[in-house]
């Protein structure tokens, strides 16, 4: 799993690629936690390079969304691959996240 964070004026862009499974989910969670610790609650999660996400990764997304919303912000998704979108739909978690076709429109939404 590769993860990188870019700060924009109105939001943070977190790009995650590869596999998020139980082995890598703690690192994914830490990266999101680091953003929250900087009191940045508008987050774009760029999933364009994501190959796989397990329930451990989904839990990290849900708990981050909870904190963002508590502080008046939100976590939005960009460029969700088809297979990942199917997992979100299947679990009903799609309802918790606004998704944009690409990072430009996602960053622009804030």
């Amino acid at each position: 799993m590769d993860i990188s964070t870019t700060s924009y004026k109105r939001c943070e862009l977190v790009k995650v690629a590869g596999r998020i499974d139980s082995a890598s989910a703690p690192r994914f969670e830490e990266a999101l936690q680091e953003v929250l610790e900087r009191k940045r609650y508008n987050i774009v999660l760029d999933l364009s390079g994501l190959e796989y996400i397990s329930s451990a990764g989904l839990r990290a997304m849900v708990s981050t969304q909870k904190v963002c919303k508590e502080h008046g912000g939100q976590l939005v998704l960009a460029a969700v691959p088809k297979a990942i979108q199917e997992v979100l739909d299947l679990t009903g978690l799609d309802a918790l996240f606004t998704a944009y076709p690409d990072t430009v429109s996602a960053v622009g939404s804030f």
């Binding site: 499974d21 139980s22 082995a23 796989y52 397990s54 329930s55 849900v62 297979a83 199917e86």
Partner: protein
């Protein structure tokens, strides 16, 4: 024809397990979408075994095997940890407000959603045996 893989109960083995299932899927002629579903169900199952049956990472074993029964792709996963009682895991309610979305039980829920059959069996000698079936018209 049956192929098998035995790995220690460590999270770093999950990528190895995914590769084993990918190879199995290719041999069995599964399409990409079906293969993704099987990989995810197996990943969730093995994560649960490490976390719950063995109470964390250890050198204990997880044994996976697969075979085809007509149009059924069958994966069997065996561990020798704590007996698993699926009825003790509450079905997560996902149609609730965000703050009430549960953090547990999601893995088992995903397994049941993605596979056509999920059967748990416990045996004193053989341990926990999980059999998952995916119908795959080829």
């Amino acid at each position: 024809m049956e192929r098998s893989l035995t790995v220690p109960a460590r999270f770093t083995e999950l990528a190895h397990i995914a590769e084993f299932i990918a190879q199995a899927g290719r041999e069995a002629g599964l399409d990409e979408r079906t293969l993704f579903h099987v990989q995810m169900a197996v990943d969730e199952a093995c994560s649960n075994i490490i976390e719950h049956a063995y109470g964390g990472e250890s050198d204990e074993r997880i044994r996976l095997s697969w075979h085809c029964e007509g149009e059924k792709f069958v994966v069997t996963i065996q561990d020798w940890g704590e007996p698993f009682d699926p009825s003790a895991v509450p079905v997560p309610r996902l149609d609730v407000p965000l703050e009430e979305v549960p953090v547990g039980g999601l893995g088992l829920y995903i397994m049941r959603k993605l596979m056509d059959e999920v059967t748990f069996h416990f045996d004193e000698v053989e341990g926990n045996i999980l059999r998952m079936v995916k119908r795959c018209p080829r």
